[in-house]
């Protein structure tokens, strides 16, 4: 079967909306329900955060959602069960974003196998170095048809951007500025210049811009400069409101596009 992430990027090359949320938050069994509502609301791609005790690159919002998910009893086995349940109902690509230690302890091959079996199309592991992926894991990822995404930032050198482009099999994650997740400011001139610099590089991989994308305006700016945008913390904050889960999900996406 063709990888759903590959199909998505074959079919669509602009205004791709990727929404991130933390599995097991607000309630343990909300994972599959949120995936269903996001799919109903028409998002293109879902990035499921695997809650971690020490999420080094994440701001307060994702730290909080992660620790709530862990308190709720989230585990990797539970997550794969939930993904399987969701996968029976939705056909959009699903990717997981987690930290290297989680996969290392679970066993990388076992993790990839469970990805394939439950219907996960790709992974983002921000603290896995490119060199180690290439040396130890690239073949395994290919074997299990799981796509990999690497991050670049405004400080990433041209050589490394080319390396990330060559090694990424899903898309390139353009971190919008030097920061942890969760900021909510407007796009600055220097960010705009960075977006244009990368766009002019003629990379083979599709580019999605994330970190700090929090409303319609920042979403549109990101889309105008790449293939699409990733929204995380702002969506998680919306999930923490008072309404029904369905209204919170659909209300938030409705305000973005």
């Amino acid at each position: 079967m063709e990888n759903r992430l590959t199909s998505l990027f074959n079919d669509k090359s602009s205004d791709i909306l990727n929404v991130y949320f933390t599995a097991g938050h607000p309630a343990l069994e909300d994972t599959a329900t949120i995936i269903q509502y996001l799919s109903d609301a028409g998002v293109d791609l879902i990035e499921v955060g695997v809650p971690y005790s020490d999420p080094m690159a994440d701001g307060e919002t994702i730290q909080r959602s992660s620790s709530i998910a862990l308190k709720n009893g989230m585990t990797l086995q539970t997550l794969f069960r939930q993904i399987k349940t969701a996968r029976a109902e939705v056909s959009l690509p699903l990717i997981l974003m987690g930290y290297y230690n989680q996969m290392l302890q679970y066993g990388i091959e076992r993790f990839l196998q469970d990805c394939q079996e439950s219907g996960v199309d790709g992974l983002i592991i921000p603290d896995l170095p490119m060199g180690i992926y290439e040396r130890d894991y690239q073949e395994l990822f290919d074997q299990y048809n799981v796509k990999m995404t690497f991050l670049i930032t405004p400080e990433t050198t041209e050589d490394r951007i080319r390396q990330a482009d060559a090694l990424s099999s899903g898309f390139i994650y353009m971190v919008s500025k030097s920061s942890i997740t969760g900021s909510a400011s407007d796009i600055s001139d220097s960010q705009q210049a960075y977006f244009e610099r990368i766009a002019a590089m003629d990379l083979k991989s599709p580019r999605l811009i994330g970190f700090g994308i929090h409303d319609k305006s920042t979403y549109q700016t990101a889309c105008a400069n790449s293939h699409g945008a990733i929204i995380g913390s702002a969506f998680i904050r919306a999930l923490e409101g008072d309404d029904s889960l369905e209204n919170k999900v659909k209300g938030f996406i409705g305000k973005i596009r």
């Binding site: 080094m56 690159a57 701001g59 603290d127």
Partner: protein
């Protein structure tokens, strides 16, 4: 090249490396490519050595502890890092790193701290150089190490509470890393121990290696040999231990003893005995031994001593332990407290709670009469007086009920 030192790719055997998100890459890469060149420049070494001598007060004495020796039946020497300016070994590293930060053109310093000793040592060198200083400290540690919080503030540093996770050293480190991600250009992160991504463990060990460099000639003066039979040090992240071992790692006759904090007991569920309870994984950008669940979630450690309350150890120590070069002991809260009192009463020295863990294992080891043992007295105990007073009161209460 020693098999116990870092290799070209940043590993100690299978431990070490730099498992960091891309946001940290340019700073770490720059540091990695420049640290050796910068710290071995003549001008750097001149300044570093002058500050160690005139500002820190080095060399720190190697003191023959007569009454302690009598009690344990060996020749016990104490390496008096407690006599350094600011009261611990931590300043050896912060002097080195502030000189490095200046050469890297950084205008703002961040640090994490557990016991507050590293925070104080960082605040001190920042005051000395007129550089802005922000110290992250777990909320729980802020409460249990109040004197050091006051000292940092006196020195002009801003102490920011780490409110996430267990609110101790691990979380203060997370917060410092997040700050660095947000401020990559003007900021240098002064890590306080031999932990974190390569090149930090090696860099910090080099700055602390002055401890064993002095031990060699000092022991020669005392005993006519540079080589002790044992070197004993407590291990939180492991910087005082790394400095005390550094110039002895390739001397097989010198036995290396690392002491971890057992908290309320190794099997009590409230412990920080990382090498016993831990397994290989990634913490703060380094592959090392750490306390974690099956799912790779980092376990919150416990020790009465804020400086040892850390769920990992430096990658070099993981390698020394796994390869059998170092032997690990542990000491409980109670044993450490008893050792504090013993050192006070036998030698007139009040050690830090962290340091006391090292002394607590003397009782568990078997010595021959002529064995030379060096205990690294990593810091002084002024910061822990509140804890000690409570212990004393409890002790005298127990004595009264005994009568």
């Amino acid at each position: 090249m020693s098999q116990y030192q870092v290799d070209e790719s940043g590993f100690y055997g299978e431990f070490g490396g730099a498992y960091i998100p891309e946001m940290l890459h340019s700073n770490i890469e720059h540091l990695k490519n420049n640290y050796l060149k910068l710290i071995y420049e003549d001008k750097f070494q001149e300044e570093f050595q002058a500050l160690l001598k005139d500002y820190v007060g080095r060399p720190s004495p190697l003191y023959y502890a007569k009454r302690l020796s009598e009690k344990y039946g060996a020749k016990i020497y104490l390496k008096r890092e407690d006599l350094n300016h600011t009261g611990a070994h931590k300043i050896n590293n912060t002097i080195g790193q502030i000189l490095l930060a200046q050469r890297l053109g950084k205008k703002r310093i961040i640090a994490e701290t557990g016991a507050g000793q590293h925070g104080v040592a960082t605040a001190t060198v920042c005051a000395l150089m007129g550089i802005e200083c922000i110290v992250y400290m777990g909320k729980i540690d802020i409460a249990r190490q109040a004197p050091n919080v006051a000292r940092m503030r006196m020195l002009g540093a801003e102490v920011r509470p780490a409110l996430s996770g267990s609110q101790t050293l691990k979380d203060a480190t997370n917060e410092a890393i997040r700050d660095w991600i947000n401020n990559p250009e003007d900021t240098h992160y002064i890590i306080g121990s031999v932990v974190g991504p390569h090149p930090y463990p090696d860099m910090v060990a080099r700055f602390q290696s002055v401890i064993s460099e002095e031990m060699r000639w000092q022991l020669q003066e005392h005993e006519g040999t540079e080589l002790p039979d044992y070197i004993v040090a407590c291990v939180g992240g492991g910087s005082n231990a790394a400095g005390a071992y550094y110039h002895y790692l390739d001397e097989p006759s010198v036995k290396i003893i690392a002491v971890e904090a057992a908290g309320k007991g190794i099997d009590s569920g409230e412990s920080a005995a990382t090498s016993v309870l831990g397994s290989m994984g990634i913490i703060h950008g380094s592959k090392t031994l750490l306390m974690q669940t099956e799912d790779g979630q980092i376990v919150e450690p416990y020790s009465i001593s804020a400086g040892l309350d850390y769920p990992g150890i430096g990658p070099q120590h993981a390698h020394l332990i796994n390869s059998g070069r170092a032997q690990v002991y542990s000491a409980t809260d109670e044993e450490a407290l008893a050792s504090v009192l013993e050192l006070c009463r036998l030698e007139g020295i009040i050690p830090a709670l962290e340091t006391a863990h090292a002394f607590a294992v003397l009782d568990k080891m078997e010595f021959k009469k002529d064995d030379i043992v060096i205990v690294n007295l990593s810091g002084r105990g002024d910061k822990d007086l509140a804890t000690f007073t409570e212990y004393l009161n409890q002790q005298s209460g127990e004595q009264k009920t005994d009568q």
